[in-house]
């Protein structure tokens, strides 16, 4: 049993510091490393903690402090927030829990009841909440946005963002910028017209909406050659964006065009699918865009967390955006202008022979029935990467040596139904063997490295080259956390939670937690003690150093 030796007055003192989470606090989140105020730990989305108590030399003495057992089954992708000693975490489908971050004991539970007509491609996922003042914000599976009193768990307003009967959904954690709550919608497999929208945090009224597919006559509409493709062209946004306060730009990764696998049916580049868009945070106006995969036929969503880094580029200080894309290339962009700076494959790629000087891929479609690398799940996917300003390395969970065989067919749009235009299967070395599916179904790894495997890659933005890799036998959907002591925490489908040396990739510590890790680890501090939290299977685990 763990003994809590910290005197009660410290608790009271900590509680006394509790104050409203202002937008200034969100901008300056790095000044309060004890807290984790946004999905990725800060507007730059580096998933990097300045905390220094856990180090390479003492990490071996990490021990479990508390766990939270979930009552809901299925992938638990939520990333918790911690605000002044209180943790807020979501669980499937749309529950919010407020817990004492030190003991895991629960203050309240809010349970949102979905309308019942929601449809999602990939499970009843929710990835977390956002906070402003003392209000939490959660998107729901039936595409509503809910404001919740952080003290009591009572809903304050509920706004319909989009009709769930047309298969719009929200699975991402919202992003608060100033007085607005920003969300994007899922539904790229159902012929939606994607968008990113901002809502007034106080009233729930929509402030702006940026459609990720331009309507006829708008700039970019010429990239949809047929008249009606744009209406059902997909381009969802289901991973939380980033924000640069100095530029007042918010960046969002946009998903695949629809139908997913039949690019012939929607000729043209299909903007702004598979792109990053930079939007004015006050108006939603498009400042610039960069498209990674024009006229995509491989489901290469650009639904990755935009990582913002300030570092030298070719000898001068630069505001960069680092992006390991599902299409297998690692990009460096100028986040002020959107200019392409470099792009290098980080896994095997054969759908393109390379990128031109503007970053546009030179596409090399494979013959029907032949493998395409990377496969449908991509070289990486939505899994949170990390950037350490200390090592200046970019860390990403990758699927290595993994390919799919794609087929395309004509799809007909019907409201609320799948709009896929073909299919794909992972390549396995044994012809006609049983399919292995995408998700892991149990404790046995039927994926095996014959079909591909996972790895943490440490990429150097300056060269695009791999500095080191940490290989895993099974594939991994885990996010990555780095620390100011050059530790790297990550998991994977095998259920191990690893601590690596962020400079070398050496394994320093591991613990077997038993269930797939499909969320991003995070870290916080209460009463002078640093904690690391990760979710494995149906359980949220919190670790700290042995006392």
């Amino acid at each position: 049993m763990t003994r809590y030796l910290v005197p009660a007055f410290v608790l009271v003192l900590a509680a006394g510091l509790a104050a409203q989470v202002t937008s200034d606090r969100l901008v300056n989140a790095s000044r309060e490393p004890q807290n984790w105020l946004t999905y990725s730990g800060g507007y730059a989305s580096q998933r990097h903690t300045p905390l220094r108590q856990i180090t390479p030399s003492n990490v071996k003495t990490l021990e479990q402090k508390w766990v939270l057992q979930n009552q809901v089954f299925g992938a638990w992708e939520s990333s918790p927030l911690v605000v002044d000693g209180v943790m807020y975490v979501t669980q499937r489908p749309n529950d919010v829990l407020a817990l004492d971050a030190k003991t895991g004991r629960v203050f309240w539970l809010y349970r949102y009841t979905n309308t019942g007509d929601q449809q999602v491609c990939c499970g009843a996922n929710n990835r977390g909440v956002a906070i402003l003042g003392d209000t939490l914000f959660m998107g729901t599976l039936d595409a509503h946005l809910v404001a919740i009193d952080a003290k009591t768990g009572k809903p304050l307003w509920i706004t319909e963002v989009a009709p769930s009967k047309l298969a719009y959904s929200i699975t991402l954690a919202p992003l608060v910028v100033k007085d607005k709550v920003l969300v994007g919608v899922g539904g790229g497999e159902y012929g939606i017209r994607g968008f990113v929208a901002a809502y007034d945090a106080r009233t729930g009224k929509q402030a702006w909406r940026f459609y990720t597919i331009p309507a006829p006559g708008e700039p970019g509409s010429e990239t949809w050659e047929k008249d009606d493709d744009w209406e059902h062209g997909g381009a969802p946004a289901w991973i939380t964006g980033s924000y640069d306060p100095a530029l007042n730009l918010t960046y969002w990764g946009i998903g695949n065009p629809g139908p997913d696998w039949n690019p012939d049916q929607r000729r043209g580049d299909n903007l702004y699918s598979d792109s990053v868009v930079a939007l004015d945070a006050d108006t939603g106006a498009l400042k610039w865009h960069f498209q990674f995969t024009p006229n995509d036929g491989y489901d290469y969503d650009a639904v990755q967390v935009p990582v913002l880094a300030d570092m030298n580029w070719r000898g001068a200080p630069a505001k960069l955006m680092l992006w390991a894309n599902r299409n297998g290339f690692f990009y460096v962009l100028d986040r002020v202008t959107g200019r392409f700076l470099s792009g290098t494959p980080f896994v095997k790629v054969n759908w393109a022979s390379g990128l031109d000087e503007k970053g546009r891929p030179l596409q090399t479609p494979q013959p029907p029935g032949s493998p395409t690398w990377p496969g449908n799940q991509g070289g990486t996917n939505w899994y949170s990467p990390s950037f350490s300003p200390r090592t200046e390395l970019f860390y990403v969970s990758a699927w290595v040596e993994y390919a799919s065989i794609y087929r395309k067919e004509e799809a007909v749009y019907e409201p609320g139904r799948r709009f896929n235009g073909g299919g794909q299967t992972p390549v396995t070395p044994t012809p006609d063997s049983p399919g292995i599916g995408i998700g892991r179904r149990g404790p046995i790894n039927n994926w095996t490295n014959a079909a591909g495997h996972g790895a943490v890659l440490a990429l150097d933005p300056r060269t695009g080259k791999e500095k080191w890799r940490f290989e895993q036998y099974d594939v991994t959907d885990s996010g990555i956390l780095t620390t100011a002591t050059d530790l790297l925490f990550t998991g994977g489908r095998e259920g191990y939670f690893h601590a690596l040396d962020a400079r070398t990739g050496a394994l320093l510590w591991k613990v077997s937690l038993g269930g797939s890790i499909v969320n991003g680890p995070m870290s916080y501090e209460v009463d002078g003690k640093q904690y690391v939290t990760v979710i494995s299977g149906n359980v949220l685990f919190t670790f700290a150093l042995r006392e």
Binding site: P7, A8, L11, V12, T103, R105, F107, T115, D142, I158
Partner: protein, 261 residues
Amino acid sequence: MTRLATRRTISLLAFAVLGGRLVAQAPQDHPGQYDRADIEAGSRLYVAQCSPCHGVNGDMIAGVDLRRGQFKTVVSDEDLTRLLATGRPAAGMPAFATFQPSEVTGIVAFIRAGFDSAIKVGDPSRGQALVAGKGACGTCHRIGGRGPRLASDLSDIGTIRTPASLQRSLLDPSGSLLPANRTVRAVTKDGRTIRGRRLNEDTYTVQLIDEQERVISLTKADLRSYEIGRDTAMPSYAGSMTPDEVSDVIAYLLSLKGVQP
């Protein structure tokens, strides 16, 4: 359980306001349909014979809410009578073939009268004015995102409480305070006193919201003293409001359904 008012004519209204999912036929077709003596007799029999499975509120079996008239198959009083005689063995409900006809009448009356909510439900708009004015409920309670969090949030109280329990809370607040909401008074080892409303508790820790509206988690081993108060700061409105005013407040509270999509 204390019954404080008995105006049988309003029980149908009570159900309408309760907002339970009513089946095609309302629990009580018209006010006063069931005899008071039958309802009272049925109440005693229900507690002894039915509540072990159905619960005192009639909602412990999935898909069935007896008080709100939600059944799996029953539509009419005759259906209910038949069901009591035969049971539904496959679903785990035994036959109550030994019930006397008068007892069956009583059970049916009690269930169909919605567990006898013989509580007067007045006018919600007058009730709203009383809550804001004379009642000064907003001094401690929060409704719809406004007001303090010192006492429980009433935003959705109409979906979780019955007219009878609301009436009890208004007239005898300390006696009807939910144990989970009781007041915590803790003194830390260095002499600080913390008061608040309990949110959660286990063997080693307690979670509360204090008078400054901070959520706090305390480890009991760190405390010098720890007490759970049985009294509440809420005044009784038995003397300060007329019965009609109380019924208006009940009507307003029943109308509070929380934020809906």
